[in-house]
């Protein structure tokens, strides 16, 4: 994992351990989110993405480790700092018998900052009948209300847990548009966990992979696409050629098909000068994710 300076860390997690029923879900996890990052958190189902998010927000207790948000201990966040954080959970824990209007009024009390314009803009654009109770809305509409509640206080840190899970493709595109608009705002940092890789590919600048209780991969998205590539090597030898930075290799009758975490340029030049035919093919993030989590 690359070392990152501590200067603008919005979230700093050190040695976070969390268990459920004696099983460790998060194992001495380290992670740092810097100001301005838009991070896609990927992981297989059950990897612990929601656990990680709830732990860092102090919604769930942790076993050990430290978490700081805006340089404050996560167990003792000041009211001001809390006001800077927007969170959209996966499940709806909101009071379902309140009307949307009342829920908005209720939430507004807790924040120094609140944008009525933002609320109005989004409730109109997303066609939400604010007189209805939460229970009367479809799952997609509920999710949209949760998103509005998170955005209204104009947070500096936004955390989404599977934000598009309940949304249809059109609604998901709308949501992404909103994220992009936010990304154009200064002073915003976004973390969203998702298994819809294509959403991430549009808006994230970094990708983190949670696996076996740790952040096993955390890199710039562009760099990931440029480095994790497929190599098609054509040769007639029985023996496989050694490939540096190898993730996986498959032999076939005309040579080898490999995936590497980074092409060793010196090695590539050496091979090609020996007349060995090597083609480099880029890979989509979905495939890259599968390779990195095998």
């Amino acid at each position: 994992m690359p070392t990152i300076s501590n200067i603008s860390a919005v979230i700093n997690i050190k040695n976070l351990t969390k268990s459920y029923k004696n099983e460790q879900v998060l194992k001495s996890l380290n992670w740092q989110v810097n100001q301005g990052d838009i991070i896609g958190l990927l992981g297989k189902n059950g990897a612990g993405k929601s656990t990680l998010i709830k732990s860092l927000l102090n919604i769930s207790d942790i076993d050990s480790g430290t978490v700081t948000i805006f340089e404050e201990e996560h167990l003792n966040l000041s009211a001001q700092t809390k006001g800077k954080i927007g969170y959209v959970p996966q499940e709806n824990d909101e009071i379902s018998w309140l009307s949307v209007n009342d829920l908005i009024k209720f939430r507004k009390q807790f924040y120094h900052q609140w944008s009525d314009e933002k609320v109005s803009e989004l409730t109109h654009r997303w066609d939400i009948n604010t007189k209805k109770t939460i229970a009367e809305l479809s799952p997609g509409q509920v999710q949209r209300v949760l998103i509005i509640l998170a955005l209204a206080p104009m947070p500096e840190l936004l955390i989404f847990d599977e934000p598009a899970a309940a949304l249809d493709p059109a609604a998901r595109r709308e949501f992404l548009k909103e994220i992009v608009t936010l990304a154009n705002t200064e002073n915003i940092t976004i973390v969203f966990s998702t298994h819809i890789v294509s959403d991430l590919e549009r808006v994230a600048n970094k990708v983190a992979i949670l696996e076996q209780g740790k952040i096993c991969y955390f890199e710039d998205l562009d760099a990931t696409k440029e480095n994790v590539v497929q190599l098609t090597i054509r040769h007639c030898d029985e023996v496989n050629i050694d490939v540096p930075n190898l993730l996986r290799c498959k032999k076939h009758n005309q040579g080898q098909s490999c995936v590497v975490s980074q092409v060793d340029q010196n090695w590539l030049i050496k091979m090609q000068s020996q007349g060995i035919d090597i083609t480099v093919t880029p890979m989509g993030l979905e495939d890259i994710f599968l390779e990195l989590t095998q």
Partner: protein, 134 residues
Amino acid sequence: MDQFTISPSSGVPIYKQLFSQIERMVLNGYFTVGDHLPSVRQVAINLEVNPMTVSKAYGLLEERGYLTRLRGKGMVVAQRDEAVSEQEKFKVLNKMISDLLTQAQQMGVNEQEVIALVTASASKNTMKSNKSKE
């Protein structure tokens, strides 16, 4: 303003796709010297991508001399050396030729055959354009 298209799921990073597109548009004259490009924000919202990506593409284009930043106006297509433009055009075409040859090889078509195909296609094009001039 819908002149750019990107494919987010491609193995090629979005900023590179944008860079290549705009590079080509400058080289083939779609954009001429002095043309304003839309702002980073506009492109990002239009394409629904992270503005940092657009910024990266614009930055690279500026670095390579395709664009220049004008105060108050944003990115503008820069004046370029004729010879350099020629070189760049050849570079873009050479990359396409390299990809073509790789594809052909994968299909088992040898270089002589590729050259024959290119020649045949080229003369067909010439015939077509001659016919339209008649």
